[in-house]
Symmetry: C2
Subunit: 215 residues, 2 copies
DNA sequence: GCTTTTTCTGACCGTATGGTCAAGAAAAGA
DNA sequence: TCTTTTCTTGACCATACGGTCAGAAAAAGC
């Protein structure tokens, strides 16, 4: 009858279970940290026996590594918009929107990432040194080009990027604090719109972003 | 001969050991998280036997609680400057300086705080709901006054505060990432000055802060 | 000096955790 | 249908951890 009652192929089973486990793991790692997370907790949240987790992921660390790597991919992808934009208003504006949306839809991932970096990146240090460094260089050169073209103030691109990361990720990583300061309620849709607007407004004005001329 | 060879009074011993333990605990909690930290690690870093830790702090949680509470005090104190300032340029500028200085001198504390909040503030939720809420209200009314006096743009004070917290604390919490992007080197004195300058410049311009008239 | 109080610490304990394993169930292949 | 491969899982193990404790050492009080 239902799709779930018909027997699943092995590939489907594997994909489905890996997804269940990774999703559960992300949440548990985000809420408890690597050290505080237990395989049993992850298993319970995934609705599988603990031994089954070790069938798909041999160790807790290997499971954690996959969670972090997946998050890193999202993190990088969010900035494809950046490059093709004609100027900072579009490029940085869209980047802020994208990263705020990640913070909203995917706060657990952001927290795991923050935790990993705070603990000196024990599992993804090599990625930081290669992929992240290259990525950052690329974005910095885009920003420098905008500066050279007079489209924004002469700001050190590094610190601008840090501010963008810090501000947008704060809404995920410190979401609990924000919620508490919001009377214990999660931000409403309207409040998220206001948050995005405030961030974009302050930063774009702060860097003296000049609107691109209409095409 | 030396001060350390003469016998210490009981009060001195207690104060000294509590300090040793709290300092070590802050570092270990920052590097490993609450779950990843072990009493043995903290004991080793403090140079004391583990049983001695339990003499001064009955449980790991009580030790952690004291660490977090001390950090929270620093966190609040950093904003005394805020209130007496004539306008946003002085007030927010000084606040940014103060918080950047905390990130520089006291990164472990900032990380412990971030970790606590990320994990839904299990031990200081009551402080968030009382002290932090009051503190935030107070600062928001200062900002609203500045807006009413035409000293800055009409910005939602909440999101401005979040941006200040996010940006300044980022230099501590994500210090490892920043260090990696700085060629593996910690920020130099000059780079810290540049960082502070960039942050102040972008934010103060971003909120349209008007310099106060000379007295 | 003698007693009391506080501090110190190695040895120990119960529990929780990451991980293993063997045997069975289920799908795939022949 | 029979065999092979993959998946599932309860029971189990070794270890590490938070915490305890009894007795020694050291100050403080008298």
């Amino acid at each position: 009858m239902t799709a779930s009652s018909r027997p699943l192929s092995r590939k489907d089973i594997r994909r489905e279970n890996e997804r269940l486990i990774l999703d559960a793991a992300e949440k548990v790692f985000a809420e408890a940290g690597f050290g505080g997370a237990t395989m049993q907790l992850i298993a319970d949240m995934a609705g599988l026996p603990k031994a089954n987790l070790h069938y798909y992921f041999p160790t807790k660390e290997s499971l954690y590594r996959q969670v972090v790597q997946a998050i890193f991919q999202d993190w990088l992808k969010a900035a494809d918009i950046f490059d093709d934009a004609p100027g900072p208003v579009e490029g940085i504006g869209a980047y802020i929107d994208a990263k705020m949306e990640i913070s909203r839809r995917h706060p657990a991932g952001s927290k795991v990432w923050a935790s990993e970096v705070m603990h000196r990146a024990p599992v993804i240090q090599d990625y930081l040194e290669t992929t992240l460094v290259e990525w950052t260089e690329g974005r910095m050169s885009v920003i420098r080009r905008w500066i050279a073209e007079g489209k924004m103030d002469e700001i050190d691109p590094r610190h601008l990027l840090y501010m963008l990361w810090a501000t947008t990720q704060h809404y995920a990583d410190f979401g609990h604090q924000i919620e508490t300061l919001n009377g214990g309620q999660p931000l409403s849709d309207a409040q998220w719109v206001a948050a995005k607007g405030a961030v974009k407004r302050i930063i774009l004005k702060g860097i003296g972003a000049q609107p691109s001329p209409a095409a």
